[in-house]
């Protein structure tokens, strides 16, 4: 036993400023890792806080149910959208949630292909976050159609009405992009879970646990052949998921850029939306990871190394987003087009100027603190910054969408948008749904990949000589 308690040699340890924390705390063995993670699901008493949190989040999810029921009964007139602002909270929330999902895919697919071992302890719940975020995102366009029961009309299928979707519309690309994204993310997450589900099956004390986890584990026995096929399948799925990190938000950016509305129609949108999505996604992962690691004492697995790396990703993507704001503003002026030139003026001095400046503060100014190592290593500060970036990225979409629509080409058709109670209740309702699903996930599934964490241990190192 004493032998196996050696400090873990971290394969990726950075060299500079010796003392960079490792990706897993020293002293763990195969057994302790499995015990610690599976106990949260199987043996540890569910903390009272879990019930309190689930109740609170659940009541917001219930508010969502009420809001959507009322929406279907009355129509989307209960929202504040009206001409000229036909897209408002609904699309803002849709883009915000879709963006949040991107961190999960990036962590699980791209960082896997780049052999970044630090991804291992955060990928599972980041992927879960992706799924739940996509679910929340999907609600908005679905209900914005007004008749969600006819949403299948969005798919191209031979029908008696001889009706086909407009394939040149980015909205139809969205249908394909988002449904592919949801499918691949769900598959990736589930396939990643299988070996751990088998662990839970084998360790479960209750019959129900054995049966349910047993069925979910799909007969996994952990034979060499299983592992071999598993690794191949997982790598292939990672390859499939990689383009989605870029393509989904690119298509979302096309929703705006393909049209000619000033402030929407600009060529930088695709890469800048993708960077913004990853930015907000990592902010959300931090927002979730920091409390979770504190409550469940997971500091051994989600180390400062993870938090720092995520902070760095936020800094980089935040700078790309700022670059987008900058070039957009410059070219608006440079174009010499009076409508384009009006866009930054309207943002900076117009009726919604407060939100624009709040957005700049949240997304550009405050995150510059992440340049400093002291900030990146301070957990409470990181948590606050991650919350600020979440707000900032929501505001970014609001500013892009509502400001351009409220004042476009014709002064006579200018208007204002004001959210109603139901706009807010739907937004907070989806937050409630998201958090509720997350609570269920934490309670019933291993939130950290047990078998992948085990591969980080020194016991798992096989000499390659």
């Amino acid at each position: 036993m004493a032998e196996s308690l050696q400090p873990v040699e971290d394969p990726n340890r950075a060299y500079v400023g010796a003392g960079t924390p490792p990706v897993i705390a020293p002293g763990h063995t195969f057994g302790t890792v499995t015990d610690k993670i599976s106990a949260i699901v199987l043996t540890r008493r569910t903390p009272l806080g879990w019930y309190a949190g689930f109740l609170l989040a659940g009541s917001f999810a219930f508010l969502l149910l009420v809001s959507l029921t009322y929406l279907v009964t009355k129509g989307i007139g209960i929202w504040g959208n009206n001409i000229p602002v036909g897209w408002a909270f609904d699309i803002t929330n849709f883009v915000w949630w879709i963006g949040i999902g991107h961190a999960g895919t990036l962590i699980s697919a791209i960082l896997l292909l780049l052999k970044q071992t630090w991804r291992t302890s955060i990928n599972r719940f980041a992927e879960a976050m992706t799924l739940f975020a996509v679910a929340c995102a999907g609600i908005f366009p679905l209900f914005h159609t007004g008749r969600p029961w006819l949403a299948y009309w969005l798919f191209p299928y031979p029908n008696s009405m001889s009706l086909w979707p407009q394939f040149r519309s980015p909205l139809i690309w969205d249908v394909f992009a988002v449904s592919t994204y949801a499918t691949v993310s769900a598959l990736f997450w589930y396939v990643g879970l299988i070996p751990d589900l088998a662990t839970l099956r084998d360790r479960s004390q209750s019959r129900a646990g054995r049966v349910i986890y047993g069925m979910l584990a799909m007969g996994w026995r952990g034979s060499a052949r299983h592992w071999h096929r598993y690794d191949t399948a997982y790598l292939l799925l990672a390859g499939l998921a990689t383009p989605l990190v870029v393509s989904v938000h690119t298509v979302v950016s096309f929703d705006f850029a393909i049209g000619i509305v000033p402030g929407w129609h600009t060529t930088i949108f695709p890469p800048y939306f993708v960077a913004g999505a990853i930015y907000s996604g990592f902010a959300m992962v931090l927002t979730l990871a920091i409390p979770i690691r504190a409550v469940y004492n997971l500091e051994d697995f989600i180390t400062m190394r993870h938090l720092q790396n995520m902070a760095k990703v936020m800094l980089v993507t935040g700078l790309i987003v700022a670059y987008g704001y900058g070039t957009e503003a410059f070219i608006s002026w440079y174009s010499g087009d009076k409508y384009e030139g009006f866009v930054p003026m309207n943002r900076i001095f117009g009726p919604y100027a407060f939100y624009y400046w709040l957005l700049i503060t949240c997304n550009v100014i405050i995150p510059q603190a992440l340049w400093f190592k002291r900030v990146r290593t301070s957990v409470p500060v990181l948590f606050v910054i991650s919350l600020i970036v979440n707000v900032g990225m929501w505001l970014e979409r609001f500013v892009i969408i509502v400001l351009s629509l409220s004042r476009d080409f014709l002064t006579s058709s200018w208007g204002r948008f004001a959210p109603t109670f139901w706009d807010w209740s739907t937004l907070f309702g989806t937050v409630g749904l998201f958090v509720s699903l997350l609570f269920l996930f934490l309670r019933f599934l291993p939130m950290i990949s047990i078998f992948e964490i085990r591969t980080l241990l020194p016991e798992a190192k096989v000499s390659d000589e």
Binding site: A14, Y15, V16, G17, R168, V246, T250, F254, A257, I258, G259, I260, H265, T266, T267, I268, F269, P270, P271, L319, Y323, G324, G326, T327, E328, I331, Y334, S335, G336, D337, W371
Partner: protein, 405 residues
Amino acid sequence: MTPLTQTADVAIPELKPMQQRLLVAGAAGGVLSLVGALLDTTQFLQSYLMAYMFWLGVTLGCLALGMIHQLSGGAWGVLIRRPIGAASRALPLLTLLFLPIALGLSRIYPWMNADLVAHDEVLQHKHVYLNAPFFLARAAIYFIVWNVISFFLNAWSLEQDRTGDFRFARRMQLLSGGGLVAYGVTITFASFDWMMSLEPHWFSTIYGVIIMGGQGLSALAFLTIALVWLSRRAPLDRIVVPAHFHDLGNLMLAFVMLWAYFSFSQYLIIWSGNLPAEIAWYLHRMETGWRPVAVALMLFHFAAPFVVLLSRTVKRQPELLVKVAAAVLVVRIVDLWWLIGPEFHTGGIAISWMDVVLPLTIGALWLVVFVSQLRGRAILPIHDPEFDEALGRIIERGAPPRTAH
């Protein structure tokens, strides 16, 4: 560390005669170019701008990749650290070579034409930005920024080699963080100034990003060729293994895809918006005799390298990878030709002998600097903090013997 130090200090005998030959070639090309400049100054400047942007792309691409590697780490960068440094030390030469462009402004850029500006509202609006003094002042700023970054990164790297002091690594990281931001801003405005303003009415927010992607690709292709060349000679023949080429091949593939992604995004958004002010640029390039070049770019700047670089075999065999890299460099020049040429030859495709001679001439002069800088230092950064991790084991064990070529 003794065997390592010896390994790194082995001089490569072929470099010296190569430098001399390149100098002769550069001088001959220079004379030819001078004749060209006298015969057809405008054509000379057009070809010169293309050749200049290409070699500037290789240089700045290397500088940026070097900074990215300082921050991200990874075995791929340790081996090419010296070629990256040598390439970025060509910046003083490129600063000097900007002179013909600065002197030829009025022949290159339509916004210099006072008559045209006087009758054009949009150009009058842009005159605050697009005028010779401000243009030159901005260029001066770009060159100061790039030269300063390159100077300090190289100086500190040399100090690190000499003293083995890890504090220099920290300094280089700090400079690289700020340096990448500075690079992003300066190259964006430089590409607006030097290339986008060739068609002064046209604008595209992604233009700078497309140029950055192209520079990264040019630099990677060049570095691949350099590494293949070095790997056939002592001391690197005992150190470079297929995995190193594999990494470079993957990065090249990533940049091929990025370039295509940026370029296609720009095209799709402008095509669907179909606004007169925006589509003119594409009409000049796709509805004229230049169309075949556009199609060729789709095929050979994206499709072909994409398919070929998916192959693991190609990426791990230097003989094959070097051919792909060379082809990528050629299409990079074609891409710049397509971006610049249609502004001078609106009627249709036009190629001049100077389009061939000038990239070769500037290239020869650039390579003289590159080779001389490569000779001046140990070929491996033995005191790089990542050195042992990346290469230590290979050097101890000795790479498997490679088949002769």
